[in-house]
């Protein structure tokens, strides 16, 4: 389907609470955003907007950074000079299979329109639902739950990231980077730009507060997005990159 960008609710820019930037932690759950799960794409989109707008309280009472800030500093200030032209029509895929009835049109829309920070948050939130963590009342995926994420869904998500970043972003890209880093997480973080340098000292980009990540396809290093939290250990990302879906190239096939 062809969408004119004007219908992308700007609320998204304000509402995605990218609190815990690394973990999928926001209490604005994808379930809420995408509910009802099996709803048609278009309505899902609008539901998402309103649900997200209502969501405000952060994980564990975490003082939330204004996501408007983070997204404005990333999506606007960083990308001001190269915001995708609003008048251009973008094609948004609609055949987005899910084993569990998840609606990926919002993700596709966000990615298609360059709202990378929001897409990033959506992705993390989706994983919380897909892994079954949400159902257990938790806001983060524990590494043992990764195996419950259906390959179909992970494939769909990956194709979207790949497509709209021209192959620059996505878990499969990260997997490659991780292998190049010989399985060393620190090296990996440096490679994909999750580390930054303060003078001589290399550190992780901040997980809270104004985002330091680069929500810009052109400026970000390869594999920079989507972010996965190392806030609760590195085993989560390791498991994700170890998911059976990457064992072969099946996921690459467009449905």
């Amino acid at each position: 389907m062809r969408l004119s960008l004007t219908i992308i609710p700007s609320v998204y820019l304000l509402a995605g609470s990218t609190v815990d930037a690394f973990s999928s932690s926001s209490s604005s759950s994808p379930a809420a955003r995408t509910a009802p799960p099996l709803s048609p794409a278009a309505s899902g989109l609008f539901m998402t907007a309103s649900a997200a707008a209502a969501a405000s309280v952060a994980d564990g009472g975490l003082p939330s950074p204004s996501s408007s800030e983070s997204s404005s500093s990333s999506s606007s200030s960083d990308t001001n000079d190269d915001v995708p032209d609003v008048d251009v029509d973008v094609e948004i895929p609609t055949n987005l299979p899910s084993d569990v009835g998840m609606d990926y049109v919002p993700l596709a829309t966000m990615l298609a329109t360059g709202q990378l920070a929001e897409a990033d948050q959506f992705t993390r939130d989706a994983l919380v639902v897909l892994a079954g963590s949400k159902a257990k009342g938790r806001d983060f995926v524990y590494f043992t739950e990764v195996k419950r994420i259906p390959s179909t869904d992970l494939g769909t998500i990956e194709r979207l990231w790949n497509k709209f970043s021209n192959g620059k972003f996505g878990y499969s890209v990260q997997k490659k980077k991780y292998r190049q880093s010989r399985g060393d997480f620190e090296t990996f973080c440096t490679k994909v730009g999750w580390n930054t340098k303060d003078g001589e000292v290399e550190r992780k980009k901040r997980w809270f507060g104004a985002s330091e990540f680069v929500y810009d396809v052109r400026k970000a290093p390869e594999g920079h997005l989507p972010l996965t939290s190392a806030l609760r250990g590195t085993s989560l990302i390791k498991q994700l990159l170890n998911h059976p879906v990457w064992d072969d190239d099946e996921w690459k096939k467009e449905p």
Partner: protein
């Protein structure tokens, strides 16, 4: 004290991050500085932060956290970051809340609670701003705080236990208390608690009258610390339940307070929301007003977690109160799902802090748990509401049969196991841990710094945290202080440091592996050292017979089922196998090559290899390299590898020695550890003896990051480190920087040095003189012989008025003068005779014989121990003849013949008495099998037998003191009997095996067994002391006394004029052993006195008024060893503040030399007097020593100028209390201060480490440096205080060098003892000679006769020559070289003949070594 107890109670109740004690130790000027710095930081960003706040439509602003640059010691977080302003008031009344908390975890909970109310409540909105207690030190923040409180409805405070901050809070809140609607103060100092106001409920009388609580606490005080805490917990838990049933209105208010407290303890956003809503609707005027007619909201009950429980992040229930319920879920559901094999998985116990669970600030915990589980391990994470974790540990870590279920225990709280920071019970902790008997790691979360601040800091972990969360847990027996989490600057949330958490998980599992792997499968790497790097030095370790000890360890390993292959059962054979490469030419300089690592393999396996290229170029380089490969030296036997640790690699390189900061390890060094971990795949490494270089590699001081070299090198390898028991300071560096668990070993048994040759003759002559002194014929003749023999023995150097040999005849002087001469000679030789001399080398697992223990015990028995009501034997004996022992000592030191005689007689009596006690317990082999409890027996017999004296009393009586009091002797003999048991206990091999078998090794203090017999038995994990406890009051008293004597002596010798400045050297071990005496001496000279707070923590200094001081303030230049800097940075701060205080005191310049010099320097450098008063120096962070020792040991130095430059460059880093986070290079100020120095001074604290035993003492001696800098080029006087015996002395440096030479290098008892151990023995002799040369080079205080006599002993005598050459040709060559060098550099004048012989010998040895 009362407030402290309350504090302790409160800490445990909240079970929270009880950091109050830390803050207390933060010192005033440090704080002031941090305030200044913080101000500066915010000057630029403040306005924008404010404007952003007003412009945003959201209710929270997060500015990027500011990182305190350069310092890294102080937090720069800001309350504005967490101000919550309601987004949309919707006509609701706004309740304004201001809070001050210590625990940053509460910050996010309160923010969330406020937001929930703003979003959800119909009745009120909340504006909320909070301050972390620390932030109130910042003047701007304090100003804002005042404004905020003035506008507030409700004030909340918690854990305000820092006196000066408590005062600040009270100052603001007290005047506004009436206008505030409610004040809620949770456990804090009494004056803050008194601010409480909830309706009619107040605590105005708190702490002023008797109360139930106070009585209860008093009663509990008598019991041990932990049960006191648990009792308090119960009390505070029951109170609210009781209150519920009280009817009156007053009780309702009290109930509200108690409910608030419960909500507060609950800590979650939900609980805090209830707290705020409850207080709002009941007490805040505007809210009450608007709610008129509405029904009050009924609050949910506080959701509280149990006091102790098991917690798991993905468990369906929040916590488990019984192990059964936990394992039911964990083993049956979680583990199978996580792919963990319940039957075989190692189990890691984890101790957590409850407040992080309450507030859900737990990602750092989850992180470690997930890393462990993803590695296939089971975890059992527990918490306690109090600060005594021993209860839950006992409850959850044993199965039904009482068998421990965990393999390794990690304490993530960073606190001591029992009592946290408040009141530790180390004994209880150690015994609980020993019962569990698994490795116990205590990892540290950053509290006082954000992780960015830690990361950019060269010091690493904040010194206050080091004191509390590294030093104190070490006393429990904790190992591996790994930083694993940090406070995130902006939000206060704890975040894990991913690489550290991974390391922690790896290391914990490697320790667990040592428990679970079969011994025969385990691979052990024994690492030996080589200092200086030379074949003759392989296997060097202080006082240890390394290869003999390795033999003993191998034997024990075999006994316990380890595979030691075909390891030979002979010391020599083991040594040969490592030293000689069978493939190389015979006697080649090459060691045995165990492995050649190609550069490709090296780069592949060593992730940081590239970083070494900056210093060393690409691999392989030319150290430990054959040109193509990196070479690992050593020899493998079965699963045991004996490897030689490479050296620093820059010992002989004048360029590198001069660098102010140390270079990284070289490729060969890295390759060695890569080999151990990744190719040999060691399960554990055993570092063999004191000490190697791993722990001295560059990096942070404490709290390593992943870029620090000790951390990178050791990586995941568990390390056990055999360490001499008398060196706790360097052992502590090994523990902290290289994650090593130490196993202490005994220094060799000490003997009295005894007399030999001319000295022995002198003793005999004096004995004859004693009988014949009044015989006018024989008496003078004997005196003449004494004088001439004294000249032969070079005693003229020590006895200033020794009569001239040519002109003197004793016939011409009176009896008094003759007595005087004999007395002085006698005092000199007795000083030599009674000096303690460690004999030979120690072999691990061989305790001293009873006979060997005697000298040590005599010395233990010499000291008075007033704290234990023990009088030393000499004091009791002296009393029996109506003398005070101190008087006797004084007379002895002055050479008063009768006192010298009496002192000698007392010494002999004491030795006889101790021997009598020891003889009771010796078997036919002369070994102490079992110490018979004679004291008890004796006690039972008291009064039973008339006249039947105990053997030791009888011995004293027989020695000529019939009136000695048996009763007064009883305590000291009971004590030495106890000490005897400890000395002969054999714990060393078992200690090593406990570590290799993955068990808990009991902790023990390190130090001098004579001063502190608790050091014994050895074979335990050594620790230093609580650094905040020094200097102790006793140490200050002793120090003031020493300083007074010293200044009197100096003034006497200088026409009553005091020295203007004294250069000091401070050592870590010295200050540990003496509880800070030497640093107290510095303070005493300047005329300041340390002041301790009610906890006995020293954190302030005050000026002693001049009139009270009675003399001028003497200036100082303090040169701290790198180890002292690492251990006692708070004390450096104390000294610097004292010195600055003195410099700024408005006093006459002839009465205040600190000020006098500082004013001159201020003018010279155009800086302030305060800046000029910079006197506390050390190395740059992460660097150690002046490298003068390395240069001299290696011989590769050009001239003295080079040594002096090294000293000035490397030691010229100033500590500045105004910029406390860094060591700043201040070479100009260092020089300016040194050029004023009149006297250089060092302390000698123990007999086993004397000035020619190690290179440290001359390494940092500035005597010649000062001479070069002084305008008049006059050499300063060099003094050494010797506090090794009860009769403490101040001697000149040259006297001390002579004394040391006479007792060691030139003493047959010493060198024969050394030679009897063979290979190592020759090296030990050579080391003394080399170190003597060091004193020539740095101070020029070595008499010619020392080298001359040494040459006579070791070179002149052909038989001796041959023995040395045969036993250790390499070391002998070094010896010859040293003699030639001493002559070549102008330190030794001797005959042509001697030099020619040495040159010939050199050629001969060289040929022999080369195998020609």
């Amino acid at each position: 004290m009362a407030s402290f107890k309350l504090a302790a109670a409160a800490l445990l109740v909240v079970g929270g991050c009880s950091t109050s004690a830390f803050v207390g130790r933060r010192t005033n000027s440090m704080i002031r500085q941090s305030a200044v710095r913080t101000n500066a930081l915010y000057a630029g960003t403040g306005s924008s932060a404010v404007s952003r706040r007003s412009s945003t439509s959201l209710n929270m602003v997060v500015a990027p956290p500011e990182v305190g640059r350069g310092g890294g010691m102080f937090t720069a977080s800001n309350a504005e970051n967490r101000r919550v302003v309601p987004e949309d008031v919707r006509g609701r009344p706004v309740m304004k809340i201001v809070y001050v908390v210590l625990e940053s975890q509460y910050q996010s909970s309160l923010t969330a609670a406020a937001k929930r109310i703003n979003a959800g409540s119909e009745n009120m909105a909340v504006e909320c701003v909070g301050y972390l207690l620390e932030e109130l030190r910042n003047e701007d923040a304090y100003g804002q705080f005042k404004k905020d409180v003035a506008e507030a409805n409700v004030f909340i405070g918690s854990l305000i236990f820092v006196q000066e901050l408590a005062e600040k809070v009270t100052e603001v809140v007290a005047p506004l208390r009436d206008q505030l609607d409610a004040v809620l103060v949770f456990p804090s100092m009494p004056e803050v608690m008194r601010l409480n106001k909830v309706g009619s409920f107040t605590m105005k009388n708190l702490g002023q009258s008797k109360s139930v609580v106070a009585d209860f606490m008093k009663k509990k005080k008598q019991e041990d610390g932990s049960s006191f805490e648990e009792g308090m917990l119960k009390l505070l838990r029951t109170l609210p339940k009781v209150l519920k049933f009280l009817p009156s209105d007053k009780a309702a208010d009290a109930r509200t307070f108690m409910m608030s407290f419960q909500y507060w303890l609950g800590g979650s956003p939900q609980n805090l929301e209830s707290l705020l809503l409850m207080v709002g609707q009941d007490y805040v005027g505007t809210v009450k007003e608007s709610m008129k007619g509405k029904t009050k909201v009924v609050m949910e009950d506080p959701v509280l977690l149990p006091d102790k429980a098991i917690w798991h992040p993905v468990a369906p229930s929040i916590v488990f109160e019984t192990p059964q319920s936990y394992f039911n879920w964990y083993n049956n559901e979680h583990c199978p799902d996580a792919g963990i094999d319940v039957k075989t998985a190692p189990t890691i116990g984890i101790i957590l802090q409850k407040s992080h669970i309450n507030t859900k600030d737990d990602t750092h915990y989850v992180s470690l748990i997930s890393e462990l589980e993803s590695r296939g391990a089971r975890v059992v994470p527990i918490y306690s509401g109090g600060l005594d974790f021993s209860g839950p540990l006992e409850e959850y870590y044993y199965d039904a049969n009482g068998k421990p279920i965990v393999d390794t225990l990690i304490n993530l709280t960073g606190f001591a196991l029992v009592g946290g920071p408040a009141s530790q019970d180390h004994k209880k902790a150690a015994s609980v841990l020993k019962r569990l008997n698994v490795p116990y790691m205590c990892a540290v979360p950053l509290v006082f710094q954000s992780f960015e601040e830690w990361q950019s800091s060269e010091l690493g972990l904040h010194p206050i945290q080091v004191a509390l969360q590294v030093s104190l847990p070490e006393i429990d027996g904790a190992i591996e202080p790994i930083i694993y989490a940090g406070r995130e600057g902006a939000t206060g949330r704890s975040v894990p440091l991913a690489d550290r958490v991974n390391l922690l998980a790896d290391r914990a599992l490697k320790w667990a592996n040592l428990r679970n792997k079969e011994n025969k499968e385990k691979k052990i790497a024994v690492t030996i050292f080589s200092f200086p790097p030379d074949k003759g030095n392989v296997g060097t370790a202080a006082y240890l017979d390394v290869f003999d000890s390795i033999k003993a360890v191998l034997k024990q390993l075999k006994k316990e089922g380890y595979d030691i292959g075909d390891a030979p059962d002979s010391k020599e054979a083991i040594m040969e196998s490592v030293l000689n490469d069978p493939e190389a030419r015979i006697n080649s300089p090459e060691l045995n090559v165990a492995y050649r690592m190609s550069t490709d393999e090296y780069y592949e396996l060593t992730p940081y290899a590239k970083d070494l290229e900056e210093n060393w170029g690409p691999a392989p380089g030319n150290l430990n390299s054959d040109g193509q490969n990196l070479v690992v030296y050593g020899k493998q036997f079965g699963n045991v590898f004996i490897g030689v640790q490479p050296s620093f690699g820059y010992e002989g390189d004048p360029m590198r020695l001069l660098f102010a900061k140390s270079a990284s390890p070289h490729h060969g060094f890295a390759a060695y550890y890569t080999y151990l971990e990744k190719i040999f795949k060691a399960d554990a490494v055993l570092h063999f003896g004191t000490h190697g270089s791993l722990e001295f590699m560059p990096g942070k001081q404490v709290g390593m990051s992943g870029t620090c070299y000790p951390d990178r090198l050791i990586n995941s390898l568990p390390s056990a480190y055999l360490y001499a028991a008398n060196n706790p300071s360097e052992a502590t560096i090994a523990k902290r920087r290289s994650y090593s668990a130490t196993v202490s070993y005994l220094t060799p048994p000490a003997e009295n040095a005894g007399l030999y040759k001319g000295l022995k003759e002198l003793k005999e002559l004096i004995s004859s003189y004693q009988g014949l002194r009044e015989n006018e014929g024989r008496g003078p003749a004997i005196v003449n012989s004494i004088v001439s023999t004294a000249w032969t023995c070079n005693l003229d150097k020590d006895i200033k008025d020794l009569p001239n040999l040519e002109t003197f005849d004793a016939k011409n002087v009176d009896l008094e003068r003759r007595d005087d001469i004999c007395g002085k000679v006698y005092a000199q030789i007795m000083q030599i005779e009674s000096r303690l001399l460690p004999c030979g080398l120690h072999t691990v697992g061989v305790p001293p014989t009873a006979e060997e223990a005697i000298a040590t015990l005599v010395n233990i028995a010499q000291l008075d121990r007033p704290e234990d009501n023990i009088e030393g034997i000499p004091r009791v004996i002296a009393a029996s003849v109506g003398r005070d022992i101190n008087e006797v000592y004084r007379g002895n030191n002055q050479g008063v013949l009768v006192d010298v005689e009496l002192n000698e007689k007392i010494t002999q009596a004491a030795r006889a008495a101790v021997r009598a006690l020891v003889n009771q317990s010796t078997d036919s082999n002369g070994r102490v099998k079992e110490v018979k409890n004679f004291f008890d027996e004796a006690a039972g017999l008291f009064g039973g037998f008339f006249g039947a004296k105990k053997p030791w009393t009888q011995a004293i009586i027989d020695a000529g003191f019939p009136a000695v009091s048996e009763e007064r002797l009883a305590p000291v003999f009971a004590y030495i009997e106890f000490c005897l048991k400890q000395v002969v206990a054999n714990n060393e091999l078992p200690g090593i095996m406990e570590l290799l078998n993955g068990q808990f090794l009991m902790p023990a203090p390190g130090g001098d067994p004579i001063r502190n017999p608790d050091v014994l038995p050895t074979g335990r994990n050594m620790h230093a002391l609580d650094p905040s406890s020094i200097p102790t009051t006793a140490a200050v008293e002793v120090a003031e006394d020493v300083v007074r004597k010293l200044l009197e002596k100096l003034a006497d010798e200088n026409n009553g004029a005091y020295p203007e400045s004294i250069a000091f050297t401070l050592w870590g071990t010295d200050n540990i052993k003496t509880y800070g005496e030497s640093l107290a001496q510095v303070l005493a000279l300047v005329g300041v006195r340390p002041v301790s707070d009610s906890l006995g923590r020293v954190n302030k200094v005050e000026l002693i008024p001049l009139e009270k001081l009675g003399r001028p303030r003497v200036d100082v230049v303090v040169s701290c060893s790198g180890v002292f800097r690492d251990l006692f940075i708070n004390q450096m701060n104390l000294m610097d503040r004292g010195i600055k205080m003195a410099a700024e005191a408005d006093e006459p310049l002839d009465q205040n030399f600190v000020r006098k010099h500082a004013i001159e320097q201020a003018a010279e450098f155009n800086i302030s007097v305060r800046e000029a008063a910079c006197r506390v120096f050390s190395n740059s962070a992460g660097s150690y020593s002046a490298n003068v020792g390395l240069a001299i040991e290696n011989g590769g130095w050009e001239d003295e100028q080079q040594l002096q430059e090294q000293f000035l460059t490397r030691k010229g880093f100033a500590f500045n209390a105004d910029k406390p986070g860094m060591m700043e290079q201040q070479a100009d100020l260092f020089k300016a201060a040194l050029k004023k120095v009149d006297v250089t001074f060092q302390n000698l604290d123990s007999s086993e480490i004397s000035i020619t035993d190690v290179s440290h003492y001359y390494d940092s001696d500035p005597t010649k440096v000062v001479q070069g800098l002084r305008d008049d080029k006059k050499k300063p006087m060099s003094l050494m205080a010797d506090t090794t015996t009860a009769n403490a002395q101040v001697r000149t440096l040259s006297e001390t060098v002579r004394l040391d030479a006479r007792t060691k290098l030139l003493n047959p008892k010493f060198y024969e003892g050394m030679l009897s151990t063979g290979y190592e023995g020759v090296r030990e002799i050579q080391k003394r000679l080399r170190n003597t040369l060091g004193w020539s080079a740095t101070a020029g205080e070595v008499d010619n006769f020392v080298f001359e006599d040494a040459n006579t002993v070791f070179i002149d005598d052909p038989e001796m020559q041959k023995r040395l050459l045969d036993t250790n040709p390499n070391a002998f060559r070094d010896m010859v070289t040293t003699f030639l060098e001493a002559n070549g550099r102008g330190y030794w004048e001797t005959s042509e003949e001697n030099i020619e012989r040495l040159q010939e010998l050199y050629a001969e040895v060289e040929d022999r070594i080369e195998g020609v």
